[in-house]
Amino acid sequence: MASTIQASALEFGPRVVKERPLALRPVFWLLRFARQKPLGFVGMLMVAGLVLVAIFADQVATHPVNKLDLKHRLEGPSARHWLGSDATGKDTFSRLVYGARISMMVGFGAVAISAAGAATLGMVSGFFGGWFDKILQRFVDAWQAMPGLIILITILGIVRRMPNVNLVLAMVIAIGVLTIAGSSRVIRSQVLLVKQAPFVEAAHSMGAGSGRIMLYCILPNVFPLILVNATVALGGVILAEASLSFLGFGPAGEPSWGQMLSVDGREYMRKQPGLALFPGICIGIAVFGFNIFGDALRDVLDPRLRRR
């Protein structure tokens, strides 16, 4: 048990026999990952592709995101508009590319908030234990009992009425904060295990402070778990954004996939099916990619599963 716990985050599988040069380690890690988890590797490539598209959206897009082209509206795929155009002639491909940016921003942003919050909460609660833990956990109970989508609708329904609010940011924060409680539970239980490991006791006896122990002994050992949780959650967040947009609570005017699907896609799909099809496919690809990548990552990183 203890040995697996001490293993660093990025090692797994059969123990490495030969020491590799430090710079090349990630490459070997990737190769091994590709061999052991081909499906997960495909997912990783999809995710990486999306992230690259999101970062280099300005270079990838063929048209400015809000450029109207009234002479070529509601057209199918062509050399001019690779994936066709919407009701005011905006280029579907370019909007999907910028949509990737929004989806990734919402996804990574919310998950970052959620992961950071959950890690802090889970570690503090698990590490200190006792009455503090008991009381904190009751609040986590209540937090978890908040009906997720319902609260999101409530919050965004109100927030979107406020002037000068960045709805993408509001959505990121709302989703992020709401999902803290659930993943903090998992991390807390892992912390409870790690806390009893000999090296933590050793650190204690050497006079290390609580903060120091949490940062240097516990965090590295729960980090894989945090990473796995975050990856698995990403797909869900992207779906949540799409659902909220569909209900009319999304960031209006932004080329988010959910927004494209639920405004022009929904209204003009008989005339131009691509308007509903392509954003739907993009959402599907993103969620699919994160899901299979997350699953594979869980298999190789989650210390609780590694025994199998």
């Binding site: 109207l68 009234l70 509206r73 009701a87 005011t88 009319g248 209006a252 005017g253 209204e267 005339k271």
Partner: protein, 582 residues
């Protein structure tokens, strides 16, 4: 709800020059083609039989059921099924749309002994439904309803003279006897009759709605239909009111009106023949027409609603200069805009007739009063309705803005005002920026708490350009006064001192002769085309609607608006079982 109902078109005048023989043949061929596409609006009243439940639908629920106090118009829309009004609009017939003329409804007859007094005699056999034991609808009900409207009605300022609305025309109303009501006016006011036919002003409700039952959730009917079932967010069920005084002239037994919010679902329902009429997105018309050869297709009329670009007129604003406003108007590509929202190029390609008209400062649907901006009759201002970037640039240079203008543009981009509205704004922003003369920053205000108070009703006290929507009006007067008179309740341009405009608006409301009144309003349009206080939206073409052939008399008796359709159009529909195919 029933398509082809609320429309008001009149065919555009034929070209006057004599065509050559070839052109004539071409014209005839085209007309024949058009005839084969369009439903001929055949009057089948002679064959009409009673019975049948019409299968309609609506897209949204109502906020509540009380038209006289609800903050939203939705209650007024549903109220017209069961609440009578003193007057109603005379329907048009077949190719001739309604003109806005009024006819009696609950008010059986009326007279105006002097310009500031109007006396109504009520229908002698008008009664409320069984829930009120068929009590006669009396003058006290009318007075009660008016007083409630005057105190709580959302549109009260259009009509009622109040301490905070000194320009209102109606001073008071009283019950002379059980069947007579008298309106006392503050000044001679020609447009009062259409106002009393209008859904959003005076719907007559029983006195019992205060204290007797909760009008937000229950209804009592005095009109042709009764609300027999209402499931919030699911459906309305209207049934014929047997106690309606003209019930013998009503053919259908009722209407089922489920709420279908999802557009694709409403299309599916129409295709499956579970919904009998539909006004689809115009982009889907050609496809549906080819798919559903059995369905009837008709063109509605031009609407009487025009939206505007309105301007921030704070001190120092560039829009205080009329040359800048003219330039804005001249940067708009009206044809491209109309093509985008009315699907003109596809209709032309497929041989579907279109009837594009530009709006002047009044909507192109106001037949007889609307002045075509393209016609020479518009005078000097006509050129402002043509796209001319070079001219606009000169105007801006002359106004001292040769380097272009940096400012804001505001519209409601959230779905709160529908999904088409943001597209309107997008296009305007595109046109203005394309010229290089404007650099615009988009603001997305909230509808009720930001857009309405800080832009729409701020009387010009904001920065930049607002893209505005408005409600329809029963008569041009309420519209002209509210929007263009310096004392109007909206008064977008009231900071631009324009005594001539005020004077023309005041002149038309006191003019009882229809022809003379139209001439004054035309004068006003010529004036507004030059001063361009607001820039009207480009224009429109009639929308296509579909119906299944078993809806007898569909599109024949053409109501002036959707609400007056309840008593002038939907009562004329009948269910032709023999034509009902599955």
């Amino acid at each position: 709800m029933a398509a082809c109902g609320g429309d008001d078109d009149e065919e555009a005048a034929e070209p006057t020059s004599t065509p050559t023989k070839e052109e004539q043949e071409k014209q005839e061929k085209k007309e024949e083609e058009v005839k084969s596409i369009l439903w001929q609006r055949i009057d089948t009243t002679a064959q009409a039989v009673k019975g049948g439940i019409y299968q309609g639908y609506t897209t949204a629920d109502v906020t509540n059921l009380d038209p006289l106090s609800s903050p939203s118009f939705t209650a007024a829309f549903s109220g017209c099924w069961y609440h009578p009004r003193l007057l109603t609009f005379k329907p048009g017939y077949r190719d001739k749309g309604a003109t806005g003329e009024v006819q009696g409804y609950l008010g059986a007859s009326w007279q105006q002994p002097e310009p500031t007094t109007l006396i109504f005699k009520l229908q002698p056999n008008a009664v409320w439904d069984e829930k009120l034991n068929k009590r006669p609808i009396d003058a006290d009900d009318v007075v009660f309803s008016w007083n409630k409207f005057a105190a709580k009605g959302i549109s009260r300022k259009d009509l009622v003279k109040l301490p905070d609305n000194p320009n209102g025309a109606v001073e008071s109303i009283e019950a002379v006897d059980k069947t007579t009501v008298k309106f006392k006016l503050a000044y001679p006011y020609a447009p009062l009759l259409p106002a009393l036919a209008y859904s959003r002003y005076l719907q007559v409700m029983p006195r019992e709605s205060e204290g007797g039952y909760d009008p937000r959730n229950e209804t009592r009917s005095g009109g042709p239909w009764m609300l027999t079932d209402y499931q919030r967010s699911v459906k309305f069920e209207m049934r014929k009111n047997p106690n309606y005084w003209a019930a013998d002239k009503v053919y259908l037994d009722g209407f089922d009106i489920p709420i279908i919010a999802e557009y694709s679902a409403s299309l599916a329902q129409f295709r499956a023949k579970k919904v009998w009429a539909l006004t689809p997105r115009q982009e889907d018309v050609v496809g549906l027409y080819k798919d559903l050869p059995g369905a009837l297709v008709a063109q509605g009329g031009h609407t009487r609603t025009v939206y505007f670009l309105f301007f921030g007129l704070q001190p120092g604003s560039p829009f205080l200069d009329e040359r800048v406003r003219q330039a804005v108007s001249m940067l708009i590509d009206r044809d491209a805009w109309i093509d985008t929202f009315f699907n003109i190029s596809e209709f032309n390609k497929e041989g579907f007739p279109t009837d594009v008209r530009y709006h002047s400062h009044i909507a192109s649907g106001w037949e007889g009063t609307w002045l075509d901006p393209k016609s020479p009759d518009m005078g000097a201002g006509g050129k402002h309705f043509q796209k001319n970037v070079a001219e606009a640039k000169k105007l801006l240079e002359a106004a001292g803005h040769g380097g272009g203008i940096d400012t804001d543009i505001a519209w409601i981009a959230t779905g709160q005002y529908g999904t088409t509205f943001p597209k309107y704004g997008e296009l305007f922003k595109g046109f203005l920026e394309e010229s290089g003369l404007f650099r615009l920053k988009l603001v997305n205000p909230d509808y009720a708490t930001d857009y309405l108070p800080n832009y729409y009703r701020s009387k010009g006290n904001f920065k930049g350009i607002g893209v505005g929507a408005l409600t329809t009006y029963p008569d041009l007067d309420q519209f002209l006064f509210a929007y263009f008179h310096s004392k109007g309740s909206i008064g977008h341009a009231s900071l631009l001192v324009d005594p001539k405009s005020d004077q023309l608006i005041e002149a038309q409301r006191a003019e009882f002769d229809a022809g003379k009144r139209a001439a004054i309003i035309k004068d006003w349009q010529r004036h507004a085309a030059v001063t361009m206080p607001l820039v009207p939206f480009p224009g429109q073409s009639s929308a296509y609607a579909f119906a299944w052939p078993w809806v007898g008399n569909v599109g024949v008796f053409r109501a002036f608006d959707t609400e007056s359709a309840r008593d002038t159009y939907e009562t004329t529909l009948w269910y032709d079982k023999s034509k009902h195919t599955t």
